[in-house]
Symmetry: none
Subunit: 408 residues, 2 copies
Amino acid sequence: MKLDTLYSDLTIKTGAKMALVVLDGLGDLATKAQGEVTPLEAAKTPNLDALVAEGCAQGRMIPVAPGITPGSGPGHLALFGYDPLEFQVGRGVIEALGLGFSLKAGDVAIRANFCTLNAEGIVTDRRAGRIPTETCQRLCALLASKIKKLGTTEVHIVPGKEHRFVIVLRGAGLEGPLTDTDPNREGLPISTAQPTDPKSAKQKKVAKLIADLYKTALPLLAKEKAANGFLLRGIAHQPDIPTFEERYQLKAACLAVYPMYKGLAQLVGMTKIEGPTTIKEQFERYAAEYGNYDFFFIHFKYTDKYGEDGNFEAKKQAIEEFDAALPILLGKRPDVLAITGDHSTPCVVKGHSWHPQPVLLHSKFSGSDKLDRFTETGANLGSLGVFEAKYLIRLMQANARMFDKFGA
Amino acid sequence: MKLDTLYSDLTIKTGAKMALVVLDGLGDLATKAQGEVTPLEAAKTPNLDALVAEGCAQGRMIPVAPGITPGSGPGHLALFGYDPLEFQVGRGVIEALGLGFSLKAGDVAIRANFCTLNAEGIVTDRRAGRIPTETCQRLCALLASKIKKLGTTEVHIVPGKEHRFVIVLRGAGLEGPLTDTDPNREGLPISTAQPTDPKSAKQKKVAKLIADLYKTALPLLAKEKAANGFLLRGIAHQPDIPTFEERYQLKAACLAVYPMYKGLAQLVGMTKIEGPTTIKEQFERYAAEYGNYDFFFIHFKYTDKYGEDGNFEAKKQAIEEFDAALPILLGKRPDVLAITGDHSTPCVVKGHSWHPQPVLLHSKFSGSDKLDRFTETGANLGSLGVFEAKYLIRLMQANARMFDKFGA
């Protein structure tokens, strides 16, 4: 029996309220240079401390697998309970989500960037001299105004930063992945996008659409000096992912500020709640929407952002900002509350990492690990141990008494 | 997607230097009779303590699976990152490696031991009265001088201790495993080696070779009183294992003293560095060879040996001998250092056991678990948690920044 099937079979609706607060990139490393503490350890967190004193379970979560550093996509899919090895989301899809484009199942999304071609069609600059974002916006608007459809397939062109943009093909019978048209180095012509499964008629259709796209678009760019061509990567369709509600019997809402996380939440069928721009506002909105949903995914970006900058002090302050707002959430206390990260972003690494992130779970049934605070070092000693992040949602469901007994 | 495929896809070469120091059978148990400490806890380890103070991650590793006691083969394969359930190595292969015989892919290796037969060909002593090693050497030399080939297949006969020896068949089109010729109790005749897969022509060929071997060899032993027959077990070919370099993009060297560990390292394609006979000399040689390899496997036998003897004091002293030599290794510090065992060999068990062995990981990115020492009890509190030994190499690679980010 598949474990997911067992979980589904045992699931019962209880009407319990659950909140998953993701402090992006929360986990960190204690180093000598930092005085052997992490930002979470250094931060003053009176509200979190009081919650821990009430009784919490702690542990650490492996985002994907030992040693694997996840991007935001796999990191969040795991938090949402979807095995990131089973549910892979293409780079194009993630990029489109990151630009705030609302994808539909079956859409093929493509990372694109402008490039420079010489008279012979050879790529001389794969990034078109990093044209300004305004130029990218102008060129995307030009292409979008002239290419709305290819046959019956809709074409959406969404500008990003500098030379980057996204193309979405929307219509019946499309499928990825296809090989890149980016030759990966200068001095070569644009490659042809090829189906990765030669038997797939849908991939062949996408290959034909991409060939047509080049035929139509390149003449429109011919007069541009720097950006007279474009390269495509990560050509993939939005995978068919069972929704959060189908999988967990939970009506879920997303309270995120950045488009990427809204997009990832939408990918699993969560409702996007728009408006709040600070963690305080997010918690206030959570309290206001409390009656309307079973599950709230609340995303806080700044722990990751300052970890990426290697800015210990700012990461610490971001945690303190979260802590100061926490009483608003606790004022309308969910039955089950999890506070964690989607991965670690240690200041010393200045980027995402593989180190298990700390997790805190609070409910009437979480018990107490009798720890003073919620920290990386404390979490090492917690009753949850070290486990794969994809199981967090199952622990939350269990704490919400959403699982019947297995067997007599 | 298979996890190993993901690891391979994400691997990038960095030129980082890595060392895996295996204190064989390191893990132990604290018992009342031992004053409730383990040899590692009782040992004076100032150099290890200083390393821990600099910042290390600790944890415990399950050698194969909960409750499974590994032999040296599975224990080391796991440390080398090869799932011991997926990559099974026959007993004959392990015995041949242990005797220092250099196997090639496709060789069929067989554990053999001399036995006593009566006039009717019935086994009356399965161990030939445990003949002295010298007799075994004489008889093996006799057989080897008379049986160099069977058809086009080379036959190699290698003496072991007392009644034990190894036979290696080398040639095209051979494959194991076959059933044993050892009837497993006295009072029965020698069994016939049978293919385990009746469809395998290669196994049938080996069965025929073994029948021919008996026909040729038994008359040569007819005048021996005790050792006038021999029994075969663990008839298996050297499996086709992807090399360490293929799997991890690491050029690896082995610094071991005992043939078994050199053999296991060779099995995965490591280069054998010969010469050193003490841990001090091994570390000196590591320092000398630092520039020539990416990965060093350094094996220390005595922790296991004294654990097998149940000699707490000697095991403790062996750890102190290692600690005294440690500064030589640290003088040419690898970017990533792991110190662990291949399994536990608790003094109270007087043998290998299933208890998770402690592991220490040190790198710029290992963080600090803020523990005072490296011990079994301390490792229980570490950030690495309890994990399967096969993931250690993946954590080492991650600490060497050898993995690209997974997904966007």
